[in-house]
């Protein structure tokens, strides 16, 4: 094999980029480098469509609703929310964990799949990373505004202050969260933006209008694409990927510590870190599907984000969904096996018991997260866009309910039975705040899709000769050659 590989190498440069025919092409149709640039830059360079304006307006409206809700909360305090004695964080922390979870797919796709050398990541990584950044911004809103007196938010930072020598508690999971999420946001932003530089330079060099030349000129940081720059760029990308991989796992681990380090029955479990990480990847991929199934259609990028991409991501969804399912069952088993009455009360009475006040939410969670993704064992379903879109929404609903179940069902019945009658129901301002983060998220996403290339142009060019349909077709002849034929042909060329 090594001999053949060496021969192949010497035979033709194109063969260096050879990839087996078993893998479906990742770039469809007859493309060359210029066509790739033109296709991906087209939506950025064209005027916004009516559909874009409609979507953007709805997002801004939702954002305004969110701003009003937050304003109400700032003026009147956290009392505007229907939190009560035992449910101290209701929708607020549910939404926080939900958004942070969604924010995990981008870095997973861009970092872990980069390390695993997965070619298909190039079609989806840019949009997924952008989604990550916007989701983390949305997530960050919840703990910040929940502080009530938000103008004192800087108290969480460790700095020499005038309130006596008072430092934050570094042993607290909540402070770990502050560090984890701000680090995650910063590193994701650096990773995303450094990856954008070459594509911004492409847009800059194609620009005709004055403002475009200026805007992309400033944004591209003077990128030239010299070999030395690319060499450093690749090193930077690789090391950032290496750093982001444990980082992405650490962030949701630390978020799960917010619960797991407490002694509340239903939270106090060691399974939380892996279970939360799997759930985060699960919901993140679902959100990527929701966005990309629409984006590829609206921006006409079906040849770059192919059915193959959708298929692969659905496989990740069925895998992580099943991991999450096993985690649910393990939790149930342990609550029974531990023979701890509080633990089994939290599970058997407050969750599994359908006739308990919040029993219904447990079954929504189970249905959406564990049962419904199993449909993706069927190849036909994985490759069906409508099913994928519907399932992605269902998974996101399910994952929201997972956090709701964990948070609310664990605390609404505490150790004082006289407090049990209080049924937690969110106020309009809690719902409004949540809707507002949708507005924020989609406003950012629409702006991103309009002003930046949603697919990494340079990376697509990089895999074009390996995974492009037309290039693979050329290689077909070589693949079907038997080894005897091949060696016969190349036996006497001595690698010349």
């Amino acid at each position: 094999m090594r001999l053949i590989a060496r021969r192949l190498k010497l035979e033709n440069m194109a063969l260096l980029r050879y990839e087996s025919q078993v893998r479906a092409p990742l770039i469809e149709d007859n493309k060359d480098y210029h066509q790739v640039t033109v296709d991906i830059c087209r939506p950025v360079e064209a005027r916004p469509t009516r559909l874009w304006w409609i979507g953007f307006s709805i997002s801004v409206l939702l954002l305004c609703f969110g701003i009003v809700s937050v304003t109400m909360e700032v003026i009147y305090g956290v009392g505007q929310w229907n939190l009560n004695k035992t449910v101290g964080w209701g929708w607020d922390i549910t939404n926080f964990v939900w958004w942070i979870g969604i924010g995990h797919a981008g870095t997973l796709i861009s970092a872990i799949l980069l390390l695993f050398r997965q070619g298909w990541r190039t079609g989806v990584n840019r949009a997924a990373e952008a989604m990550t950044i916007f989701a983390v911004i949305c997530a960050g809103q919840f703990p910040i505004w929940h502080m009530g007196r938000v103008w004192l938010a800087f108290f969480v930072l460790p700095y020499p202050n005038t309130r006596g020598v008072l430092w934050p508690n570094f042993n607290s999971a909540l402070l770990w969260d502050v560090f984890a999420i701000s680090t995650y946001f910063t590193v994701s932003l650096l990773f995303w933006y450094s990856g954008l530089l070459p594509d911004l330079a492409t847009l800059r060099d194609r620009a005709r209008l004055k403002w475009r030349k200026f805007f992309y000129g400033v944004a591209a940081f003077g990128w030239t694409g010299s070999t030395k720059t690319w060499q450093r760029f690749e090193t930077l990308a690789l090391v950032l990927a290496g750093l982001s991989t444990p980082l992405v796992l650490s962030v949701h681990t630390i978020v799960s510590f917010d619960f797991a380090t407490s002694v509340v029955p239903g939270w106090h479990t060691t399974i939380f870190p892996p279970y939360f990480v799997a759930g985060a990847i699960f919901s993140g991929f679902a959100m990527v599907q929701t966005l990309l199934v629409v984006t590829r259609k609206v921006l006409g990028l079906e040849q770059y984000i192919t059915i193959e991409h959708v298929d692969v991501m659905n496989k990740v969804i069925v895998l992580t969904g099943s991991i999450v399912g096993i985690a649910y069952l393990t939790e149930l088993f342990v609550s029974w096996y531990s023979a701890n009455p509080y633990e089994s009360f939290a599970f058997a009475q407050n969750r599994v018991n359908l006739s308990s006040p919040y029993g219904w939410s447990y079954y929504i969670m189970m249905g959406c997260n564990v049962l419904s993704p199993q449909i993706f064992w069927i190849r036909k379903m994985r490759r069906n866009l409508l099913v994928t879109f519907f399932m992605s929404i269902l998974v996101n609903i399910g994952m929201w309910f997972e956090r709701f179940v964990i948070i609310v069902t664990s605390v609404y019945r505490d150790y004082l039975p006289s407090a049990w009658s209080t049924y937690y129901r969110p106020s309009i301002w809690e719902v409004g705040f949540y809707m507002g983060t949708f507005g924020l998220f989609f406003t950012c996403y629409f702006l991103f899709a309009k002003f930046f290339p949603v697919i990494a142009v340079a990376e697509i060019k990089h895999i074009l000769k390996r995974s492009g349909e037309n290039y693979k077709a050329k290689m077909d002849v070589v693949e079907h050659e038997s080894i005897e034929q091949f060696t016969e042909k190349h036996a006497h060329d001595h690698g010349a």
């Binding site: 440069m13 194109a14 030239t224 690319w230 930077l236």
Partner: protein
């Protein structure tokens, strides 16, 4: 700021570019730079560029972060303001692992990115020239520096023989300069060139 002369040739396929780079170097020409629309693995080696030390820098930034976090937290919790939390030890290393890890990653990532920008001399509002605007689209552009010893016409002919298209002689100022992209792109030394 010296003005230098370059012979610039464009290639439309990396499979043509690679042997060309080798032959140009073998012929003794000095390759100023090759501009490509995407990273081409092995081109840096073919051009004889040294490996980058950016990863080592990243490691140094990383351990700086580790040391900062551990030093800072242990100073606060053991000497500056020792909090008694349920009689637990002041020096509680396991509880500090998350923050130490996060700061390691943060320092390393931020430091490396800034170093990357510094080494490549990249920042907002920086403007540089890369000879051909299509080198960020679909062309691989090779610039050969011309000295007193080089025969210009020979170099042009040599590049053409290697499969380069659109070979021409260009003059550039060698230093990076600040500028704005909305101004009409003019190649430096245009007047001079017209006079010639």
């Amino acid at each position: 700021m010296a003005i230098k002369k370059f012979v610039v040739g464009c290639f439309d396929d990396e499979a043509v570019l690679f042997p060309a780079v080798k032959k140009v170097r073998r012929a003794g020409y000095k390759i100023h730079e090759v501009y490509t629309p995407f990273p081409i693995h092995g081109l840096d080696k073919a051009m004889g560029l040294k490996d980058t030390d950016l990863d080592t820098a990243g490691f140094i930034y990383g351990i700086t972060g580790t040391a900062t976090a551990l030093g800072f937290i242990s100073w606060i919790f053991t000497s500056d303001w020792p909090l008694n939390i349920g009689g637990k030890p002041h020096f509680s290393l396991p509880a500090w692992i998350p923050i130490t890890f996060e700061l390691t990653v943060l320092f390393s990532a931020v430091g490396m990115t800034l170093t990357f920008c510094y080494l490549c001399q990249m920042a907002p509002f920086v403007k540089k020239d890369h000879f051909n605007l299509r080198s960020t689209d679909d062309l691989f552009v090779m610039a050969i520096e011309i000295t007193e010893k080089t025969n210009e016409a020979e170099a042009v002919a040599f590049l053409q023989s290697l499969g380069a298209m659109d070979v021409k002689v260009d003059r550039k100022e060698t230093k990076w300069w600040l500028g704005r992209y909305d101004k009409e792109t003019k190649i430096f030394g245009m007047k001079e060139r017209e006079a010639v």
